[in-house]
Amino acid sequence: MSGVVRLLTAAIFAVAALPALAADEAPVLRQRAEQLAASDRCEEALPRARRARELAPNDARAALVEGRCLLRLGQYREAIAPLTRARELDASLKGVSTDLAQCHYHLDEIEDASAELDRAERENPDDARTQLYRGLVLSRQAKQREAAAAFDRAGGLDPSYAGIAGLYAGRTWASVQDREKAKQAFERAHSADPSSEWGRSAAAELETLDAANRRHVWAIARGGVEHDSNVTLQDEYTFGRFPDFRRAHERDDTVAVFEAEGGIELYRDEKQSTGAAVGYKGNAHDNVHELDLQYPWATIWYDRRLSEDTWVRLQPFFGYAWLESDPFVIHGGGTASLYHTFSDRFTGRLFSRLNVNDFLYHLHPDPPQDQFVRNRNRDGTESETGVEGSFALVPGSTSLRAGTAYSHYWAEGRDWDRNGLRTWIGATQQLPWRFVLDVLGTYYYQPYAHRSSYDLDVARYTSGQGPTRTDHIWDAQVELRYPLTSWAEISARFQYTSAESNVEVFDYDRWIAGGYLTLSWGHTL
């Protein structure tokens, strides 16, 4: 009997020991994992941390060391779950929010990184690592001044960050043209550790810090193919008495489009910039060659900074166009613009433009009356004045733009005298894998001043009963862009236009779908 009792007792002890053993073994595994991790031996630490978590799923420190090791090994996505679990189990663990911010930042999840940094700053506003990543996140959100200040804070909080924080701060201050602060930051980075990659980069960039005030030259070339549903801008209508109009109809066509431009800055300092650019745009229709466009243009500009956030641009321009090989129009004018930066997120522009057109084609009267020729002379001057703004809804990711402009056209022929209102709204969205989506919608309202001689009922027009032309034009564009490199981009575009006019010949709709390749080049002189 005593032997049985002894066996039972032993069995009870053995069974009772097992769960306790697991509980006691887990801290040993985790302590060892922590020691290995602290020695930067995360490959060895990880299996121990994972075993510890299997034995003690509620051990926050085991989850923490697993998460930190995964982070250390660059497995950012995998690190998020254990780090999050560690924080759930023990909210007092230090630095976990910054760990998570690091993960999200390196996964390009900038908003998530920002949210974790918010939390980290509430826990410890004076943590250098938190401030360094705050700077990186702000930089990605296009908040360069705030980013530079965060980098400066990081370097001040921990001298071991002086190199990296100084280099980043210097570059960021340079990007907002604050050369004095940039210089100080680069000097800090260089003096902290001259032989490190940070110090060497800072020294190199100190030497080229004045590049922002050096002149730039650039060139852009773009080509593509479009399908245009209505190159003639006509609708299907019939005319009773004009044989030519009877043959007028909507035509679709495939069009090769190409353009190029080049420019050079002739002078630049902190207060002003001036330069010149020339360009060319053309197209070639597969069928309707009469509409093949050749359009060279030229412009010069003068920019003057009025304050840190405000500057003006004066920009005269000139252009000449041929259709097929026949002169079509010569025009010239100028634009005056006032730009203002209201905040890191919001910039605005007020502009006014004057343009004089001289159309080079001849109108032959049909019906053969001089008043048609006179009234249809489109030569004239247009003015347009408007405002537009751009707002970074999600900095670095989503931006909105909108504007409105009032215009007036003084034509030599009364048919073309008109007022105009143009309103537009657009958005640009960064997509995964570096794609960029751009959408733009525009509405034109153009009430003309006089009855239109293009009225199909000429008798009605000549008797003074015809309609006064009013156009409502709706236009929508969607473009998807993908940068192949920093200098090459491919894009696809779809555009739909619906023109509603009470004068039938101006009433039509049209869509265009195309694909393009754009090459860009820039150089600092």
């Binding site: 801290p27 302590q31 190159v231 049909d366 293009y454």
Partner: protein, 279 residues
């Protein structure tokens, strides 16, 4: 009287030889303090005792001591070692370079979560426990005839040797090593030596594991420089102020303002409303 003491003295001498080989504390770290309550010390032969604090390193040759109301835990490689109050343990390494803990007084617990590798050593008097995957304890008890050792096990079978003798403690058993008596087993008690309730917080090295320098390069913030295209010229991007888009508004090539009529062959020499006739 001499028989049980000879192996013990040999083992003690062996441990001292092992420890003296690395008497300089800085030479080779054996482990770190993972928990301490009350006053505990570590002492190299011939040196002053060092008060132990969280995260302190311990070295081969160190003798750890706890007071009447203190505990200390050290992590020796993969093995957790925990001293009860009023205990002394001499630390070292075995010939296979695994941790060794020789109990000199009191009680000690050794938890080894490994499944592979050479065993660690848990020694007491002249008895050696070969620890691998074990949760073992060692005790020194005193009787009138002299001290004796007890090694208990809670997880895996624990082989215990003394000279030529060998006995294995099954989980829930202890091997008793009394002088003048062969090794024998007995049922274990139900109270184990506690691990440290208050563990040391992770050290700063773990917090610094993800130093940004390990993740970032100078390229993570772009250097200022010319950008392809016109963005670097002027104070804002240069665009053709009356570029092709504007031309379209006026020329009618790509806007609705002038409807062009295309007359396909044969061209009609007559021009009419809305028909462009070239000069």
């Amino acid at each position: 009287m001499l028989r049980p003491n000879i192996p013990f003295l040999c083992a003690l001498a062996g441990s001292l030889v092992l420890s003296s080989a690395s008497a300089a504390p800085a030479a080779e770290e054996l482990g770190r303090v993972t928990g301490v309550t009350g006053e505990a010390t570590a002492q190299q032969p011939g040196a002053e005792p060092r008060a132990l604090h969280c995260g302190d390193p311990v070295f081969p040759g160190d003798t750890l001591r706890t007071g009447s109301d203190s505990h200390v835990g050290v992590q020796l490689d993969d093995v957790g070692t925990y001293l009860d109050p009023n205990s002394q343990v001499l630390l070292g390494r075995t010939a296979a370079n695994t941790p060794s803990a020789r109990l000199l007084a009191g009680k000690v617990r050794m938890i080894d979560p490994r499944d592979e590798g050479e065993p660690a050593q848990l020694a007491v008097l002249d008895a050696d426990g070969h620890v691998k995957g074990n949760d073992a304890e060692a005790y020194i008890f005193k009787e009138k005839v002299g001290p004796y050792a007890m090694l208990c096990e809670w997880d895996e079978p624990l082989p215990v040797s003394r000279g030529n003798e060998q006995k294995t403690a099954k989980p829930g058993e202890c091997v008793i090593a009394k002088p003048k008596e062969p090794l024998y087993t007995a049922n274990a008690h139900d109270q184990r030596i506690p691990t440290i309730a208050e563990e040391c917080a992770p050290g700063p090295d773990l917090a610094n594991l993800n130093n940004p320098l390990n993740h970032l390069t100078p390229r993570d913030v772009a250097a200022a420089g010319p950008v392809p295209g016109s963005d670097s010229a002027g104070f804002g991007p240069i665009t053709a102020a009356a570029g092709p888009d504007y031309m379209c508004d006026n020329a009618g090539v790509c806007s609705p303002v002038v409807p062009l009529v295309v007359v396909e062959p044969p061209p009609d020499p007559a021009c009419g409303p809305g028909i462009i006739c070239n000069p």
